[in-house]
Symmetry: C2
Subunit: 228 residues, 2 copies
């Protein structure tokens, strides 16, 4: 049997459309680093040129005009949690989800609590609508951010407490999908000076994550587009 | 060896904390019906008694004060997508996610686009904040809803088009997690009279879902708490 050499069978380049301060892109960078997977970052500047995410070239990649998007083998995945689950299925070590269905549900409920209940409400597009369409002033926009991030993180702390399955990280003693979401959300909370005094467990976990190279290298300040 | 009879080893009752009009609870009802799984519905009325979801008894179940929550074997899962993934892992037939990692990523990106980018922004708690804290009048609140649901559904239609993997349903010819999310979002869109003229594929898929008993039985109008 003749061997055929197909160029497309080679390990394809991984591309992440990212913005250094995007909380959702930050999640994917952490996951890629935890898996030890190389990727090429394509910066999409959310504030420059009226928002590069709105340009037709990027809308063709991501119709929602949001980062991140992920490309591999000519195929695109949008939505940070879908990307991370995909990476976890294709590259199982180290696992980002526990081995049991209930354990996975626990981690996913934490990740989704951040991704659905905290982050989207404080997205730049929401703040822009509050400003331009509803004429909400800067102080009230900041109060909005602090309210949703603050109450959301307190509910997350209570959820974590109730679950009783956290250890050094959100679930046990290895980083999971939940930690990939927590750290960017806390970066965001600090940026907007949200009161963090009522979430001591989350802060402890954030510190544990911050000691790992995978999290350090994914930090917004370390991204090539941070200085652009 | 002596056999011990543990009552808790019996098939446990499934409990769903639900509200008939909650889009997230509606997703879980569809999934349970597609799997043919019985459950007991515990209604949490989001408007009565100042919002039953805020009462301490319910906050103990769900610290975010949101529906749905799911209980089984004395353990609780919050977040509709985490619940549905759990049901799919424990009861694989019929599958609500495709067999390949990329197929699953495609379905999850659709589901997450609804669960993260459309639904949370139009949640009752957001509308209440707009009204009470920012004094946004009813017409502007309705415009807010129509903007985020309308533009979100149009982006979803474009995403579906780009993916090219839809069939009778969002992904191929069997209902998936994506359809569990789409149908409640379209119910919500119609309730607020969002313009649906630009999303013909989503409407076709919604019609296909509506022909199935699992979707019909999960409809808000069929829930015991609808008349309460």
């Amino acid at each position: 049997m003749r061997e055929s050499i197909k160029p497309e069978a080679a390990v394809s380049e991984r591309v992440v459309y990212t913005y250094f301060r995007s909380s959702a892109a930050y999640r994917v960078r952490i996951a890629l680093n935890l898996k030890g997977l190389d990727y090429r970052a394509v910066p999409v500047h959310l504030l420059r040129d009226g928002g590069q995410q709105h340009q037709p070239e990027y809308r063709a990649v991501n119709p929602f005009g949001l980062v991140p998007s992920y490309r591999e083998d000519g195929r695109t995945i949008r939505q940070s949690l879908a990307i991370i689950e995909y990476l976890d299925e294709c590259h199982p070590e180290p696992p980002l989800l526990p081995a049991t269905p209930f354990g996975r549900a626990e981690v996913r409920q934490l990740a989704l609590s951040i991704a659905c209940e905290i982050h989207p409400i404080n997205n730049p597009r929401i703040l822009k609508y509050l400003e331009r369409e509803l004429h909400v002033d800067e102080a009230a926009r900041l109060a909005w951010m602090r309210h949703w991030i603050g109450t959301g993180l307190q509910a997350l702390e209570a959820l974590l407490e109730d679950m009783g399955s956290s250890g050094r990280f959100c679930h046990g003693n290895q980083p999971t999908l939940a930690d990939c979401c927590l750290v960017p959300q806390l970066f965001n909370a600090r940026r907007f000076e949200v009161d963090l005094s009522k979430i001591p467990r989350l802060i402890e976990i954030d510190d544990a994550c911050g000691a790992l190279r995978a999290f350090q290298d994914a930090h917004p300040s370390k991204q090539p587009d941070a200085a652009m």
